[in-house]
Subunit: 135 residues, 6 copies
């Protein structure tokens, strides 16, 4: 259960700012489906607009990292933040972008190994080698 | 300052288990440099052996994700765990594997955006859409 | 499902220590409602007593921060800890103390933005400016 | 030590995008001081522009939460993310906005208490009371 | 709902690698029960093999910490990572190894107190006393 | 550098509340050494009193878990919270209570393994087996 109302299509259509964002999501994704994250964020119109603009800029614009790689990074962060919603939505997004079973296994293996060595390095407070430092 | 002793090359050479791992690190990486993480982990020989074996299996073996992509995921996890050592060592490793400035910018942008939406999804406790669920 | 038993009113009434805390919760809040957190904590009487005493001292005593502001901080921490129960209970508490829709939007925006910049500052390991340090 | 270059004023002045953001920071804050966070973020111009725009919108625009309250929430998030840089910069910012010693004590007390009860609620997996749910 | 398929016994029996691990789990634990974690991890055979080998080495081999103490540490980590599955499975495991009600109370009290003082030490950025440093 | 003043012995002696707590720390520990955590917390007298009372109740009182086991749990939590100060102070405390090299290795191995499986269970969103649930 959410801590805020989930906006229906009818409610969204009645508010020009929400309506505009929902429309742009539908057009951009070429799909009628608006997932619950945006229906929840509709309670905060300015935040909705900024967050959607950021998603477009960061996840959808052409760039140096391909779209699937960006989703893998997103899943890693969401796992560490223990964000159930985001783990589900971005694993689904990665699959839609072609994530194979083997890639998923390797992603999980890297996330698990990094969590393992992060814990060790923090517990031992290992000093950073000068060789790693910039300039 | 570490919470454990950092093993010197001389100390490592005097212990066959540590010596074997340090040798394999040097051979595998084709470099004489042993970074502090392994010098600290040398206090725990079984853990040292297992962790190095995992690094070889997960980060260095051929697979479906290219080595740079694995480093990007590693950096994302290390950032979320606030692991100073790991952020430095894996940013350096990513650079050694060809990370460009633009790729770094996009990596940071995805980590930051995921942290932003994770916080929102958690704060609003957004229910997972049935459309995202497997099978 | 909890990992511990949730104490019913009848069970609580039969144990003097639990009974005393539950009574004080009811009197302090001027309500008969005892939420599940306390029913779970009743399994640990000393911890129940200490935690309730702390809640009274920190959240309910007069002070320099108004009660709603304290709830906003509580929600921020609970979101970062991904504590589903606490996010729900303290969002409800904030609403009971007058949280408006606009305040909620701004709270979410600050939590999200801080998560965004925290991730960036950690990933870049930005050195603290001397100007920020205390005398 | 940072993982990226910190831009000097001279370097920033030579790049129109960086120059424009640095100028706007100076004008908005009515101060010549540019803290290291922005000097590090200058390596990622698009992210620099977006992040500064967000800071202006979320932290500096008039709203329903006063500027000091927003800083308190920021400090809470930064503490939970163990972001040394952000803890320092936003504690300094809160002091500049009038944070008193007593307010700081209460802020720390709420952050600590929330961390305490978050851990308990998570460890006991306390089920959310229906009374807390929206709608 | 998981993000991956949960392998049934029939499916596991048809894959020699999965079959071997499931068999070893059953033999080692002297029980027919295979919990969902392993049924999910069966999608990633190499990771399944490595993770089960690690569990045997770290949690089940004789050592300097008794098995119940290892479970207490596991619960503490799982609580901090907000891992619902792991909190449940390792609290059940600790109970199977004799965890008493009083020990559980003390475990929760230490986890909560450490979370409280960790938050304070981070928020105040307390410098490490030289007396604590190794050698 | 801390975000608050560290109280000297002379300053502490001039404030009756601080003086009383510092005295009790010295008497209880049978040592003149007051570590920086308490010198920082002295800025918040009520929080200082409550936190020290909690430390005495949770870490020092006789109970069902021996003092070293409590320190191991404390180190695990502090590692997950990436609390540099607490990792150092509680590793030192564990050593003072007899932590052996082998116990330290096993502690690190459990923390690392739990971090590894927590990440996997969260990334796969493994559903809790009914067998694990209480009552």
């Amino acid at each position: 259960m959410p801590t805020v109302k989930l906006w229906t299509d009818a409610e969204a259509a009645a508010d020009p700012r929400i309506h505009a964002v929902f429309n742009d999501i539908r057009t951009t994704r070429n799909s009628d489906f608006i997932n619950n994250f945006w229906r929840a964020l509709a309670n905060q119109p300015a935040l909705l607009e900024r967050t959607w603009a950021d998603i477009k800029a960061v996840m959808l614009a052409p760039g140096a990292l391909d779209p699937l790689t960006r989703e893998l990074i997103y899943i890693a962060v969401s796992t560490l933040n223990s964000c159930t919603y985001c783990i589900h939505s971005h694993t689904a997004a990665a699959r839609a972008k072609g994530l194979t079973s083997q890639q998923h296994e390797e992603l999980l293996a890297v996330i698990a190994l990094a969590s393992h060595t992060n814990a060790l390095a923090n517990a031992m407070q290992v000093p950073v080698d000068p060789e790693f430092l910039v300039g």
